[in-house]
Amino acid sequence: MGRSNAFTNYLAQLDPEVSGIVGNFYGYSPDNPYAQINPYKYNHLNATKQPGDQLYADLIRAQTQDYNQRFAPIENFMAGQITATGTKSLEGDLANTRENMNAAAANVQSQQNRNMGRMGLQNTGNVSNSLTAVGGLVGGLNDTRLRDADRRQSILSGSLSGISQKARSTGQ
């Protein structure tokens, strides 16, 4: 704990960008990315040295570093999820749909067998092969694909389009 505080204090004496690089090098990631900002770092400077501007510059560097560390990877992940037809989640969702339909059919089949058995009857029906269950599986798989394509559109026109516009306007 004491060593960690000492290191935080040491980082606080550095330029925020440099402190980030040093912190990363030593695998040090404090919970508070703004802890190293010292509001009174430039108090001693003469007004002609623009201490307010220098402190503002530190804040902007700290925010940029925080954005690069915490949010940029999420943006990259989101952009990387998009495929030509949908998202990379499609495969998992299709597997979930199949699993759900198969598990439900097996579950219901067991229930029906038990119910018939209680009345001394042998169940000859096969839920999994019924038109209703098969139709449900096909419909479910189609719905999964459609939902995934919708999701892609929503990401492209929603979250990511906002970012690209903002990035473009910031770069101008």
């Binding site: 509001p39 969702d93 219901v108 979250s159």
Partner: protein, 188 residues
């Protein structure tokens, strides 16, 4: 005449004071809100883990099954009340058809819960990105909201399935009216 002063301009004292105020606010944001944001970011990331939606899907299946079970009890009661032989083709056929409908309802409800979970994961990612961009975040619908909309659909499907049950229809006069009595009606 001409100024010609070579000295650097002095910065207003208020500018440094404002910068210090911003620095303190940012430090406080880091202490209080960054850990909460990180928690949200980690929760969002874990929504993409394999098997993360299993609980939501299983719960949707169980609750949909319960909706159908209530109708089955009434169907069996109605069959006995009519003196139907449970081994008869009509009784077995009706029962099997409704069981298949139950399987479809459970499977689709579970699948829908899984898809809703994935949608929510992407929506949360969008919120994280909005946080990073300093944009206004949109309201996040939780597991309960997603589950309820899924069950509303399952309830409506069950109502339609049992409305077609001949035994129930002949006992109650109208199948739809009886199904409404099971609490299968919407509005949930």
């Amino acid at each position: 005449m001409c100024g010609g002063g070579g000295s650097d301009p002095k910065e207003l004292e208020s500018k440094e004071a404002l910068a210090q105020q911003a620095a303190n606010a940012l430090r406080r944001y880091g202490e209080v809100f960054v850990p909460l944001e990180n928690m949200y970011i980690n929760d969002t990331k874990s929504m993409f883990d394999k098997g993360a939606s299993d609980d939501a899907m299983a719960s949707a299946q169980n609750q949909t099954s319960a909706i159908y079970e209530q109708g089955f009890n009434d169907m069996r009661g109605a069959q006995f009340a009519q003196g139907l032989d449970p081994n008869s083709g009509r009784a077995v056929g009706e029962s099997n058809a409704l069981r298949a409908a139950q399987a479809r309802g459970m499977g689709l409800a579970g699948s829908d819960a899984g898809l809703g979970y994935t949608d929510a994961a992407y929506q949360n990612l969008g919120n994280v990105i909005a946080m990073g961009q300093g944009l206004q975040t949109q309201a996040v619908s939780g597991n309960i909201d997603r589950m309820q909309s899924s069950l509303d659909r399952a309830g409506a499907a069950a109502k339609r399935d049992f409305a077609n049950s001949q035994s129930i229809a002949s006992i109650a006069g109208t199948g739809a009216g009886m199904a409404a009595n099971y609490g299968l009606g919407g509005g949930g």
